[in-house]
């Protein structure tokens, strides 16, 4: 199933947003380990501080060997430079977004490795991603036949759920009207009044007194005992009369708004069953339900739109609706009611708990709960998670067209837009609860922006959905699991002392997760670790949400970078085997992601991958291979979403516009860049050809690296500097010159200061300026004098003459 990236993301691509903290009550104390080892062990292992050898330090050493010591900035620089410039070459195999993900991830990872400011990292990643997006979206070769090349998408394995912003939230929006000023009774005062001093209570002995007459303590069970069957406890004992609605701001239950049945079924006929807050109930002598009312309205609209007979009261279904509370249960059609309109089915749908929770987040309901006086975000989360039935009720009675995947013929005309009519309801039901399954069938790449498409009228696609206003939620979802945990004081209390206790970790902690990320097999896990380590930063700095987000994104990208390097290290360079079937490829990679595999990648394989990619003779292949054979890069798509999501915090729509502008503006840039790459390569080749000896001896840039500099599009100035600027005269290291000519031919060209030409000869030895200066105790002139003196002494000792021997022409003296 394919979805647009700007509009939605597959929720199950990420970790569930809200889960119970596994560290509740801090029960990781027993048995050792727990959160401490869970977090530090992998980090220690990766860093190579665990004593087990290897780790990132060892890996970096391996990588350095593979890359060579002469790469400025190490392999991170190589990768960072390579990837954006590889973008034009990966047009076919990768979509623009995937190329952007590649570039953004690489940039982020490299920035982190180089210790740049996190904000710069994010900025660089975003810019790099956009640039690559623009570059990669040029070209036409290998474009997806289903979508325009600039259309981002993501494919999901069958069975993965897609939650959409409008699939279920309309009833919530309508129903939830929580007062903002709702004081909570002063329980503390009550408790304190009863216990005197609860903080230092010495009155436990009061409990030794006999029980009051008629008091049955067995009824005072506050919590549910999961091991013993017992009465409902306090929930049944606290009579409603004890709850003063006034004291709760008119809300006997602050979550009353969650009960859609109180809204949807207020007029339920007598004897009808409905899904109430506490389960199935029989209610109401009040006539039609809203469900029926909406259905009637929907059928009326349908009659108008499709030129079918207007509905009558007999067309309204008569059914008993039940809702399964079992999480993850699949929707099943209700029994076909008598006289049911053809083409319409009613689906009985329950909502998985995590999906419902996600919906709570999307609608802002969770936040509103958290803002209630006395409440916290954790409270709200816990409440939502632990009350799936209340969420499940949201999905009551989803209706869908039986032929939802098709469009009627002839196409209906004259249908007013959703906005003009204010009709946002689904096809009947309680408004806007058309199921996500319906949306999945109907929202396609071609119509996702056509929110006014009459065919989608009943799918409740609105502008917000089309514009991807909810992107940010999903974006946060990518690393939310880690971040959610990060908010837990338990982890915070545990992690910070780690940094304080271990100096090395303390220094590297902010970037430990990112550094480790390339070697972590799962990008999601890498993002989590990256977010955690970055978020906490250095001891005493507190948890930094922004830094955590960026760290998570960077780590995610770094992990995908590692995936590519790993693939390059295990796969022969062969662009011809690029797989053009995006769907299968991505699906396979996603599925592969979920399969068991080593948590850490092999540093040796990653290092080998870098070596492969730097192979000068096949740099074109390497560039292509980087994107094509590295199938797991395709899992980097969410990184783009993460980056986009960050930007979407302020203005989601701007992402696409910016990307489009970048794509349009980068045409010239791309051409210019390609020209520079070609020119640089050509000049490098010419330079080598023209000065073979110098190139062979040259500076600190060897043959192989020189080629890659050109391939990477490094500007010619740098290349020249590498070859000539660090010439022997100014040379950083003394060199024994070996080249063409003889000892006095001065046939080895060189420059002084990069400008003044100089000539050297075979067998001569260049002494760096600093050594000359040292010989003169800081005076180059005095040092030179010493050297000249040495030359004189040597020559005199050897030949008896302080002067250099005359230059001769050997060929004249040699026998013919």
């Amino acid at each position: 199933m394919r979805y647009h990236l700007e509009s939605t993301l597959p929720i199950h691509a990420f970790q569930p947003l809200v889960k119970h903290s596994p560290f509740k009550h801090g029960m990781t104390l027993e048995g050792g380990g727990g959160i401490v080892s869970a977090i530090t062990d992998p980090i220690s292992d990766v860093l190579g501080t665990s004593g087990g050898g290897g780790g990132i330090l060892g890996a970096l050493a391996d990588v350095d060997k593979a890359v060579g010591d002469t790469v400025p900035g190490g392999w991170g620089t190589v990768a960072a430079v390579a990837v954006p410039y590889a973008a034009p070459y990966v047009l076919g195999p990768l979509t623009a977004v995937q190329a952007a993900a590649l570039a953004a991830g690489t940039s982020a990872a490299t920035g982190a490795i180089q210790g740049r400011d996190p904000e710069d990292i994010l900025k660089g990643a975003a810019l790099s991603g956009l640039t690559a997006y623009g570059l990669s979206s040029l070209g036409g070769a290998g474009e997806n036949i289903d979508l325009p090349s600039e259309t981002p998408y993501i494919d999901m394995p069958d069975g993965a759920n897609l939650l959409t912003p409008d699939s279920m939230d309309i009833p919530l929006k309508e129903a939830i009207k929580l007062p903002t000023e709702a004081p909570i009774p002063n329980f503390d005062a009550d408790i304190t009044a009863g216990s005197q001093s609860y903080a230092n209570a010495d009155d436990i002995r009061t409990l030794l007194e006999p029980l009051p007459q008629g008091y049955d303590p067995s009824t005072e069970i506050l919590d549910t005992d999961y091991s013993v069957s017992k009465p409902q406890g306090i929930r049944s004992l606290v009579a409603e009369s004890e709850v003063d609605p006034t004291s709760l701001g008119g809300r006997a239950d602050p979550f009353v708004g969650v009960y859609p049945t109180s809204n949807v079924y207020t007029d339920l006929p007598v004897g009808y069953e409905f899904m109430g807050p506490n389960g199935m109930e029989v209610v109401g002598p009040n006539g039609k339900t809203y469900l029926q009312k909406d259905l009637y309205e929907a059928l009326s609209n349908r009659a108008t739109d499709y030129s079918v007979p207007a509905p009558t009261s007999s067309d309204l279904p008569s059914f008993l609706e039940t809702v399964s509370l079992k999480p993850d249960s699949t929707p099943v059609p209700l029994e076909s009611p008598t006289g049911y309109p053809q083409g319409v089915q009613i689906f009985n749908r329950s909502v998985p708990a995590d999906a419902a929770t996600q919906k709570m987040v999307e609608t802002g309901y969770l936040d509103r709960l958290a803002k209630l006086p006395g409440a916290t975000y954790d409270m709200a989360k816990s409440y939502v998670v632990n009350n799936p039935y209340k969420s499940a009720a949201i999905g009551l009675g989803a209706l869908k067209l039986a032929n939802a995947g098709q469009q009627p013929s002839p196409a209906p005309t004259g249908i007013q837009s959703i906005e003009s009519t204010g009709y946002t309801g689904g096809y009947g039901s309680s408004g806007g609860i058309a199921s996500p399954y319906l949306l999945r069938n109907r929202i396609t790449a071609s119509n996702v922006y056509d929110y006014e498409n009459p065919y989608d009228r009943y799918a409740t696609v609105n502008r917000r959905y089309a514009k991807g206003g909810e992107v940010k939620h999903f974006a946060f979802g990518g690393i939310s699991n880690a971040l959610t945990r990060a908010f837990q004081p338990v982890e915070k209390a545990v992690l910070q002392p780690i940094g304080q206790a271990v100096p090395f970790v303390r220094e590297i902690a902010p970037y430990a997760g990112i550094l480790a990320a390339p070697f972590i097999g799962s990008p999601v896990a890498a993002a989590g670790i990256g977010a955690l380590s970055s978020g906490f930063g250095r001891p005493g700095s507190g948890f930094d949400m922004k830094r955590a987000l960026m760290g998570g994104i960077a780590a995610y990208g770094a992990s995908t970078l590692g995936a590519g390097l790993e693939a390059a290290g295990t796969t022969p360079l062969d662009v011809s085997s690029a797989v053009p079937n995006f769907d299968a490829d991505i699906t396979a990679s996603v599925q592969k992601e979920s399969l068991s595999k080593p948590f850490f990648r092999s540093p040796k394989v990653v290092g080998k991958g870098i070596g492969n990619l730097l192979s000068p003779s096949t740099y074109d292949q390497a560039a292509a291979n980087f994107g094509t054979k590295a199938g797991t890069f395709k899992t980097g798509v969410p990184l783009v979403i993460g980056t986009s999501g960050m930007m979407a915090i302020d203005e989601a729509q701007k992402i696409r516009e910016d990307a489009d502008r970048a794509a349009a503006a980068s045409k010239g840039e791309q051409q210019d860049m390609l020209a520079r790459i070609s020119k640089g390569k050509k000049r490098a080749e010419e330079a080598v050809r023209a000065n073979p000896y110098m190139y062979a001896m040259g500076g600190s840039v060897d043959d192989e690296l020189g080629g890659d500099y050109s391939a990477m599009g490094m500007n010619q100035g740098n290349l020249q500097k590498g070859l000539f600027g660090m010439g022997y005269a100014a040379g950083g290291t003394p060199r024994f010159l070996s080249g063409g000519g003889d000892g006095m031919s001065d046939s080895i060209p060189a420059t002084i200061g990069g400008t003044q030409e100089a000539r050297l000869a075979d067998g001569e030895f260049v002494i760096p300026a600093d050594v000359v200066s040292h010989l003169g105790n800081g005076s180059s002139k005095a040092g030179a004098k010493q050297l000249y003196s040495m030359m004189d002494r040597v020559r005199k000792a050897r030949t008896g003459n302080e002067k250099q021997g005359r230059q001769i022409k050997p060929q004249k003296l040699m026998p013919a």
Partner: protein
């Protein structure tokens, strides 16, 4: 944090309606049938069962180390009292609590009252 904040926060992950739990605590305390002990951000609620027996409920939002010190405090308080036996139910995190209590030398046994999962003689 105040006891009510601790109880609410703890129960939001455990109970369907934390406020009702809190109201129950309040009611029992005000009736003189329960006592609250607080240490750090942990609250131990003792409910009178008669004949020197009490029912225990632990509410906490403490990190591990703080919780450990709180439990030590609670154990000391109970040991210094004349209570005979304490009972507690088996919440979702019951096994962990039992383990922690055992670490501190509390002899946890199977409850001799059917309403509870565990008991410990003081």
């Amino acid at each position: 944090m105040t006891p009510s904040e601790i109880i609410l926060r703890d129960q939001y992950s455990q109970a369907d309606d934390p406020k009702k739990v809190l109201m129950g605590v309040s009611r029992i305390v005000k009736a003189g049938n329960g006592v609250l002990l607080q240490k750090n951000n942990s609250v131990l609620f003792l409910i009178r069962l008669g004949e020197g027996d009490v029912e225990l409920h632990l509410y906490t939002v403490d990190p591990p180390q703080a919780l450990a010190s709180a439990i030590q405090y609670f154990i000391e308080k109970i040991r210094n009292s004349d209570l005979k036996k304490v009972y507690f139910i088996k919440p979702k995190s019951g096994e962990q609590i039992v383990k922690m209590l055992k670490i501190y030398g509390v002899d946890i046994q199977k409850s001799d009252r059917k309403e509870y999962a565990y008991m410990a003689k003081v």
